[in-house]
């Protein structure tokens, strides 16, 4: 399989470094604006839930981060696969940069879910909830990926070995997802209804959607800045980087 020609530019570290430098601030700016708008909409404009009162507002963090946590893993796996197959160091760099970000969002989803669980379900943690289990296992996947990388001295080797894990992991993500859900649908634990009240009103939904888009931009922004750092680390000895640093001095 051959990669299209335009794609090759993304294999060039200086190009991507510069691109990330240009796009980063814009994307970051958009993220800040959207998140600010979403927060305002969610905390101020949206009415309190008639069942849960104000505690439901944590949804504006919880749902976007849960969504990002899953999306990030898929991107990680795709990047890792590209890196492994076409020996593209930059793709590996992308995968590496995503891992800690994805893990953080996963953790955020877990933490906000747990905090939310206390007022709603009366407990921080419910072992029998499929989403919680799924999210926890996803966190393990991220941590495993990061631990595996950390255990290698040689970056090249770390790239390729962890790429294999990333790809195997993404194959498993849907399997885990569905197995956890099916399993619960049969074992009826203590019955918990989530946000069963009236269907979500527009006042509540709109800020949520804005937040989701905002979180996505935020993710992209974080990714670009980590990627820049990763490139610097990898191209430590490269001429273009030294010239760049020399220039800016």
């Amino acid at each position: 399989m051959k990669l299209p020609r335009w794609f090759h530019r993304f294999g060039s570290p200086p190009y991507v470094y510069a691109l990330a430098g240009t796009l980063g601030p814009w994307i970051g700016g958009i993220a800040v604006v959207l998140i600010a708008a979403g927060t305002f909409g969610g905390l101020v404009l949206a009415p309190p839930d008639y069942l849960q009162g104000d505690s439901f507002r944590i949804i504006y963090i919880h749902v976007p981060s849960a969504y990002i946590s899953m999306m990030a893993y898929v991107i990680l796996a795709v990047a890792a696969a590209i890196g492994f197959i076409w020996h593209l160091k930059l793709a590996h760099a992308v995968a590496v940069s995503i891992a800690p970000i994805g893990a953080s969002f996963t953790f955020l989803a877990l933490a906000t879910g747990a905090i939310w669980g206390k007022p709603t379900w009366g407990t921080f943690w419910q072992w029998t909830d499929p989403r919680m289990m799924f999210e926890l296992l996803l966190l393990f996947l991220y941590l495993g990926y990061m631990a595996l990388r950390a255990a290698f001295e040689d970056r090249d080797k770390a790239d390729r070995v962890s790429a294999i894990l990333g790809v195997v992991g993404v194959v498993n993500v849907p399997i885990i997802h569905y197995s956890v859900i099916w399993w619960n649908s049969l074992h009826q634990g203590p019955t918990i209804s989530r946000l069963d009240g009236p269907t979500i009103t527009m006042d509540m939904l709109a800020p949520l959607l804005i937040m989701i888009v905002g979180f996505t931009f935020c993710f992209a922004w974080l990714l670009l800045s980590r990627l820049q750092g990763e490139i610097v680390e990898r191209e430590y000895a490269a001429r273009w980087l030294r010239e760049l640093v020399g220039e800016s001095r």
């Binding site: 492994f84 996803l138 631990a147």
Partner: protein
């Protein structure tokens, strides 16, 4: 191909026989875990029955994870893996043969042993056959998954036993379906669905897993 498969499998079985105590270890581990639990819980009959399936499956899962940890390490450290990789034998076949040998040594005894232990957990008789069948379908997948973990970490030399962390999330479906099948059988419900799922996962794992293992081993040797 078949020759190579048999050669490699024969060698690994012979080695396992020579060092049987090492391979008996995970089984013993299983028996001990399964018997310590009732001791630590001192539950009533009913409780024991209700947690029995779960305990058995977790113990079986752990024991098969433990068994595979060293699958490739020995061959790495004495240089055998280099020789095998450089030989004309197709590497994928080699990998499958090694996993198969290991499954024979660690998986099959488990399939026999677990239902026996299950008896002492007051599991109803109908569930035992299902339990064995589910194990028969789940252990190959577990073997492949742990082989992936072992291959990923073998090149760490320093003993990357992070294996557990890597593989565990991947194993949870087997745990879930296996437990479900057993529980359903105990309740007299039809168990075809979870068993089919286990079989599907096994086919999937066996057909694609060895590729991942071979790739990881190759990188590890560099």
């Amino acid at each position: 191909m078949v020759d190579i498969f048999l050669t490699i499998m024969g060698r690994d079985l012979k080695l396992a026989y020579r060092r049987w105590s090492e391979f008996a270890n995970p089984l013993l581990f299983f028996v001990i875990v399964a018997s310590l639990f009732p001791l630590a819980l001192s539950p009533g009959q009913a409780l024991l029955q209700s947690i029995g399936t779960g305990v058995l499956w977790v113990a079986a899962l752990l024991s098969s994870l433990l068994a595979l940890e060293g699958l490739f390490r020995g061959d790495f450290e004495d240089g055998s893996m280099e020789q095998i990789l450089l030989s004309p034998a197709p590497f994928g076949t080699v990998v499958i043969a090694k996993i198969a040998a290991h499954w024979i040594v660690s998986g099959i005894p488990l399939i026999v042993l677990v239902p026996v232990v299950a008896l002492s957990f007051q599991l109803p008789g109908e569930a035992l056959a299902t339990l064995a069948a589910a194990l028969l379908l789940a252990t190959p997948t577990l073997s492949v998954l742990s082989a992936i973990g072992a291959a990923l970490t073998v090149s760490l030399k320093s003993g990357g036993s992070i294996i557990g962390l890597l593989i565990l999330p991947l194993c949870s479906p087997m745990l879930i379906f296996g437990t479900r099948a057993t529980d359903m059988a105990a309740n007299g419900e039809p168990v075809a669905a979870p068993l089919y799922l286990l079989a599907a996962l096994a086919v999937f794992a066996i057909s694609l897993g060895p590729l991942a293992v071979a790739a990881a081993l190759r990188v590890g040797l560099e």
